[in-house]
Point group: C2
Chain length 198, copies 2
């Protein structure tokens, strides 16, 4: 398969690339690195990306920013980061990319376990992750020719230094386990699924 | 209790007002009618509303627009309607209103069953409703002095003429049953709950 991996240079992206490149051609994209540059907040940037890749068999997204902050100090602009980037950035990757993905090809988006189990300072992440999971379930029934799933991990072992304080007591998972969920989504046949990695 | 009811002139809002006004003082607000006018997409309009109401014991929101359309024809602007209005409009009602709600007072937001069970043309509603439910669960653990819940109804009996085609086979509920869920949220003691009305 020819797979477009967005956010390829992040902790999850690197693990997904390592897993999938064993068996597939992986085209990497990212904000500051990779075969192609893309800013998923910018619809035109996404259009330009697909114009360069041409037809692909799968889109794996491991990109998406969201702001962690106390709810009482969250500004509309901070909520906008998660909505514009992680949520609508990924939605637009699907809506625009649909024309470029081959029949029975797939989109795999990234959400996160805060959708189901909130933590302090994570209100924006909870909102955005749950929205992504619901979008995936809803989009699956309106996309007859392509598949769409989400991968929803808890905090990563590799990210505990920075995110550990938000996730005290969480059983962190290694990025390579998250990458296996991408593999199940892309190399399997399901659609409308949320792959929890807990 | 002194209760601010937003979207008071809608199908759900009228039923909530009828239920709560039997026992409480209900202040009504809406885009085009009610004791006060408010556009929940506009942060300043929300600030002006609370400045007029002063301290209240509960905020009940039955307002929020979202666009129903085939996913393949949904534009970024159509997705924005649900995000700006039903999702972030209600989030801002909470963030700004927090200073005006009395201790152990409550916010009750409106979401909807498409969060959990998608239908054709409902991708934006699914996304927005799930985001609201997750926000309520997350906000509840960061709002120690006030309570926050969501009411998540399926399609209303009163709306079947317009929404029936989207909800074939759904067991519609009367708005008065949805109003009872608002009563449980406001007159009960729970927080972080999603009251499904199915």
């Amino acid at each position: 398969m020819k797979i477009l991996l967005i956010g390829a240079n992040g902790t999850i992206g690197k693990a997904v690339g390592a897993e999938l490149s064993q068996r597939h051609e992986v085209i990497t994209a990212g904000r500051n690195s990779g075969d192609y540059r893309v800013n998923i907040q910018d619809v035109q940037s996404i259009r330009d990306l697909y114009a360069k890749t041409g037809t692909i068999d799968a889109v794996a997204c491991a990109a998406g920013n969201v702001t962690f902050a106390p709810l009482e100090s969250m500004t509309p602009e901070q909520f906008d980061v998660g909505i514009r980037d992680k949520l609508m950035g990924q939605v637009h990757l699907v809506l625009i990319g649909r024309e470029y993905v081959s029949v029975r090809g797939s989109f795999t988006l990234i959400s996160g376990s805060l959708a189901d189990e909130p933590v302090l300072f994570g209100s924006s992440a909870s909102m955005v992750n749950a929205a992504i999971n619901a979008f995936v379930r809803a989009a699956a029934i309106e996309l007859p020719n392509v598949r769409i799933n989400a991968v929803s991990p808890t905090v990563l072992e590799e990210s505990m230094e920075s995110y550990g304080p938000f996730f005290r007591g969480a059983e962190a998972v290694p990025a390579r386990r998250v990458a296996l969920a991408y593999s199940r989504s892309i190399e399997g046949a399901n659609t409308g699924q949320v792959y929890n990695v807990l």
